[in-house]
């Protein structure tokens, strides 16, 4: 089957396949890591030269101002050089320079060996895998940071790290998990699944797609590199409130700039999803026939393009205050420190939906397929996503109930925060109704979906407490908040990421993972998660503030319990990685549709052919018509479809 499709595409698109090996000088000038190396150095030197030249010209002292040099040379021009060297801009440069555009050889499309995953690749399926492998690398780093500070917290007083190192670890943990794990993990899963689900051959802008992936490792390495900065890693939390962050050592700049790169990556991807979903749906794929994963990524992408510029702005303000001597947050010069929090949370509250809506989409797929039933109230499920999108922009100040903001803002923001529980509740009840009277199968994706459902309900309920202003005044900035965000971001988002990984693993790799290890991973995660985070609820309410390296002795026992369970959580990921790596290499062949799902990605081979579909499919019905006699979602080959229909008539 796959062979046939290759022939077909050879006819349609000319040559494609692995690029010919380069020799001699071409190895230095052609796209690749060698060119990336010298262009990174060259661009870094150019940035360095620009700063030094203008500081010399202006007579500014010192000429070597390391904050400015780091910002311009290390974190702006050098990464651009790296991208150029790798070949992210090659096609555009050809186009802009007026040279005849190269014929479409598709040599950068599709993966033929593991090396192709380390190149600028324009295939959405390759990019999806690149995203996922990259984000799990940063997931490990973020998790190790968490285990280090949990070790410190096992006992009161300071044992392993000092105040700076502790604050650096908690800030790094949050920044990596949010910007380099959860947000891009969903981008990776959607990159793989959405074009297939739409019946499209790729994303709308494959080169932009490749570029947005390659911004991500840059952002991640930038954040991690801050450990090497003089004064240590950024240590004012992932929220980076001024004046603490404007006065912090140089490591803070790495956060300011890392967020810009990660944010640019998200915005580009979101634009790409929006255009793809609006313009590249297969014939017959109306909005009301789109799978809910597509709906979820549509709303998420709207959130990203509207909200992400706000965090970019907030970090630029901090950076400008430091290196350009602006006074956005300098109180003595009339700065207004709460202005930062408003701008920051105007992104960062919608960001929790950016980190949750794609997960909702995954859960809708998994629960429908593993219950063998249509999604209950499909249209209300899609509309509730849109309701969360709109309401999500009207609740940001609930993060600021104790911040000293205008008093009148609190009650309206409380009401909107409470109301947003309603569309979320609609989703939970609809999932339950989908399972009702279904034929439930408890494969690993379904276990994680059920784990998500129960944990997310707990996280949602603790959110009601935090939305209530008087309770929040007591609970704000305590471990209760830490418990809440982990119930929604770990019990919520991360469980859905695992559900999605297990669900699409056979499609991505063509191989089946080990169910036994998958289930072991689930139970270790579920137990480790609850043991780590459930006690935080009362420890916080009783009086333990968040972000402290040392705490009152009365909380010692519970903290020891949490640390022990957090290490169990660490062990659970070892099981996960073992399962993924070994199954990818040696797992049994999965077949094209192991879950007997109806959505389009399961109607092609595993892994799918380079251009996804032989012919663009014709969509003829909804995506979840389980149990409906004779119902179909799509017809893949006109001839085959006619045949199938005739067979049915004969029977």
């Amino acid at each position: 089957m796959t062979e046939l499709q290759h022939t077909h595409h050879d006819l349609a698109h000319g040559h494609h396949g692995p690029p010919p090996p380069r020799t001699g000088l071409r190895r230095l000038t052609g796209p690749g890591y060698l060119r990336a190396l010298w262009l990174t150095l060259l661009f870094g030197a150019i940035g360095f030269g620009i700063v030094v030249f203008f500081r010399w010209l202006g007579g500014w002292d010192p000429i070597l101002h390391w904050d400015v040099l780091a910002t311009v040379a290390f974190m702006t021009t050098a990464p651009v050089g790296f991208l150029a060297g790798l070949g992210a801009f090659d096609y555009w440069i050809y186009y802009i320079s007026g040279r005849p555009t190269r014929p479409e050889d598709h040599s950068g499309h599709g993966a033929y060996s593991w090396r192709d995953y380390f190149r600028v690749n324009t295939d959405h399926k390759v990019i999806g895998v690149q995203y996922l492998v990259t984000v799990f690398f940063f997931f490990v780093l973020g998790g190790l940071a968490a285990m280090l500070f949990r070790a410190e917290l096992a006992q009161p007083d300071l044992q392993f790290v000092d105040g700076q190192a502790y604050n650096g670890l908690i800030s790094m943990h949050a920044a990596l998990m949010i910007f380099l794990f959860i947000i891009p993990a969903f981008a990776g899963l959607a990159n793989f699944a959405v074009p297939l689900m739409l019946g499209a051959t790729d994303m709308a802008f494959p080169r932009l797609n490749a570029l947005s992936f390659w911004l991500l490792p840059i952002a991640g390495l930038m954040l991690v590199a801050s450990f090497l900065a003089p004064g240590g890693a950024f240590a004012s939390g992932w929220t980076a409130y001024p004046p603490l962050s404007t006065e912090a050592p140089m490591g803070q700049i790495f956060f300011n700039m890392g967020v810009q790169w990660a944010g640019a990556s998200s915005i580009m991807t979101a634009l790409n999803f929006l255009v793809t979903i609006i313009t590249m749906r297969a014939p017959g794929m109306t909005f009301w026939r789109m799978p809910l994963l597509v709906w979820a990524n549509f709303t998420t992408s709207l959130l990203v393009v509207i909200a992400t510029p706000f965090i970019a702005a907030s970090q630029f303000f901090i950076l400008f205050d430091r290196i350009m001597h602006t006074n956005f947050f300098t109180v003595a010069e009339g700065g207004y420190v709460l202005g930062y929090q408003h701008i920051f949370w105007f992104y960062s509250h919608p960001a929790v939906y950016i980190m949750m809506l794609p997960g909702f989409g995954i859960i809708s797929e998994v629960i429908a397929v593993f219950s063998r039933k249509p999604v209950f109230g499909y249209r209300l499920m899609a509309l509730s996503l849109m309701a969360i999108l709109v309401l999500g922009f009207s609740v940001w100040a609930h993060h600021m109930f104790v911040a000293g903001m205008a008093d009148w803002l609190r009650v309206p923001m409380m009401v909107t925060s409470m109301i947003i529980a309603v569309p979320t509740g609609v989703k939970v009840f609809s999932w339950l109704a989908t399972m009702w009277e279904g034929r439930l199968r408890f494969g690993t994706p379904m276990l994680f979906a059920l784990g998500f459902l129960s944990m997310f309900v707990l996280g949602g309920l603790s959110g009601i407490f935090l939305a209530s202003v008087p309770i929040d005044i007591h609970a704000s900035d305590t471990y209760f908040v830490v418990a809440h965000i982990h119930y929604v971001l770990f019990g919520g988002s991360v469980f859905t990421i695992f559900a999605g990984i297990y669900y699409w693993f056979p499609k991505m790799t063509g191989r089946m993972y080990s169910e036994g290890l998958g289930k072991l991973h689930f139970w270790l995660t579920f137990i480790g998660f609850n043991g780590t985070f459930f006690p935080m609820h009362w420890v916080g309410l009783q009086g333990m503030p968040r972000r402290v390296a040392d705490y009152a002795a009365e909380f010692g026992n519970w903290n020891l319990v949490m640390t022990v369970f957090s290490f169990l959580l660490g062990i659970s990921t070892v099981v996960f990685f073992y399962n993924m790596i070994v199954s990818w290499a040696r797992g049994p062949a999965a077949g094209s549709n192991p879950w007997r799902a109806l959505t389009l990605e399961w109607q092609v081979s595993s892994p799918p052919p380079v251009f996804n579909f032989d012919e663009i499919p014709q969509v003829v019905g909804g995506p979840y018509e389980y149990g409906v006699p004779g119902a179909r979602h799509a017809v893949l080959h006109a001839a085959a479809a006619t045949e199938a229909r005739e067979e049915e008539v004969v029977r």
Binding site: P243, G404, A433, M435, L440
Partner: protein
């Protein structure tokens, strides 16, 4: 749905609700209240908890029921019934939660209004936060302000209105037993209303990440009888209370030294910073006279770090916030108090 399955669902729901209620009752979720505001927060908390346990019980019962009842046999390849939705149900689970969260919102808004009401004649105390110490300024008996202390002492039963401000970065004032919390923000004044109801000792906890010494930023709180409060104010007034005329002992208290350091003459016993009772040996090791050593420790605390402590935690601002005379008196007080 058959009657048997309804009964089973209800049983699961009651079981889940009972377990959740046991967890709610068995675990000491909240500290014992010590203020009228906390009493109302506790009420709101339990009001919300009851509703949430109800929702949790329903969801848990349905999940458990589905898992037990609708498990497909391994060889069962059939699909479930093609039910696409039910308008009545969908309206119900949109409307009922909306009513419940509206109820919680109304209760919360009323409680908030009550908790913000300071009454006609509250005691007014100014709170200043700085890395990493708290300072409190009380009105004198003659009505004029300016009596400073590193300890928050409040008369029981009297409503106090705190005015908070920060010198450097954002801090947050929280006494868990009082429930109330507010950030102290550079450049703007924030306020908190507290009516203490229980005599006892508590602790101010900083809950906004404020730098290296964030976890050590505590201050003692005492709720005392009206007479004891008057005596405390009289004592502050007699040793100068931050007026510039105060004694060394008064400066030690008003600058908040006792929040972190134990010093027997002042009766403080905090372990956050090094003890100050026996500094002669350390001064000798440093090759300084005792007086110079103590002075250096106040104006340039990171010059020498005692073993077991870290740099960057003690404020470096005392050289500017204390006058030369105050500094002399404080050094004298510490030198004379050596054991």
């Amino acid at each position: 749905m058959r009657r048997g399955s309804i009964v089973r669902m209800v049983v699961y729901g009651v079981l889940a609700g009972t377990v959740a209620s046991l967890v709610a009752v068995a675990v000491p979720w909240l500290p014992t209240s010590a203020s009228e505001q906390m009493d109302r927060i506790v009420f709101t908390f339990w009001f919300t908890t009851v509703i949430c346990i109800g929702i949790f019980a329903i969801v848990a019962a349905i999940i458990v029921y589905c898992v037990l009842k609708f498990r497909a046999a391994p060889d069962d390849e059939r699909d479930g019934p093609p039910v696409h939705g039910h308008t009545g149900l969908e309206i119900a689970w949109t409307a009922v939660p909306a009513v419940l969260v509206t109820a919680i919102s109304i209760v919360s808004a009323i409680v908030l209004a009550q908790n913000e009401d300071a009454g006609d004649n509250p005691l007014r105390v100014n709170v200043t936060a700085a890395q990493f110490a708290w300072s409190f300024e009380y009105p004198a008996e003659n009505g004029e302000g300016g009596l400073r202390s590193g300890e928050l002492v409040l008369p029981v039963g009297r409503t106090v209105r705190l005015r908070l401000n920060a010198n450097d970065v954002i801090h947050s004032f929280w006494v868990p037993e009082f429930g109330q919390k507010s950030d102290a923000v550079p450049g703007i004044d924030t306020h908190l209303v507290i009516t203490p109801t229980r005599i006892g000792s508590y602790s101010v906890v900083c809950t906004e990440l404020c730098g290296l010494g964030h976890s050590t930023m505590r201050a003692p709180v005492a709720v005392v009888s009206e007479e004891d409060y008057d005596a405390f104010i009289a004592r502050l007034a007699s040793n100068g209370g931050g007026s510039g005329e105060e004694t060394g002992e008064g400066i030690f208290a008003s600058a908040g030294c006792g929040s972190c350091h134990s010093f027997e003459p002042a009766g403080t016993d905090s372990q956050v910073g090094p003890a100050l009772d026996d500094l002669a040996g350390a001064a000798e090791n440093a090759g300084l006279s005792l007086e110079d050593y103590v002075r250096e420790g106040i104006v340039d605390p990171d010059a020498r770090i005692a073993e077991g402590f870290q740099a960057g935690v003690m404020p470096k601002t005392y050289e500017t916030t204390l006058t030369d005379e105050q500094l002399d008196r404080l050094v004298q007080y510490l030198v004379e108090g050596q054991s």
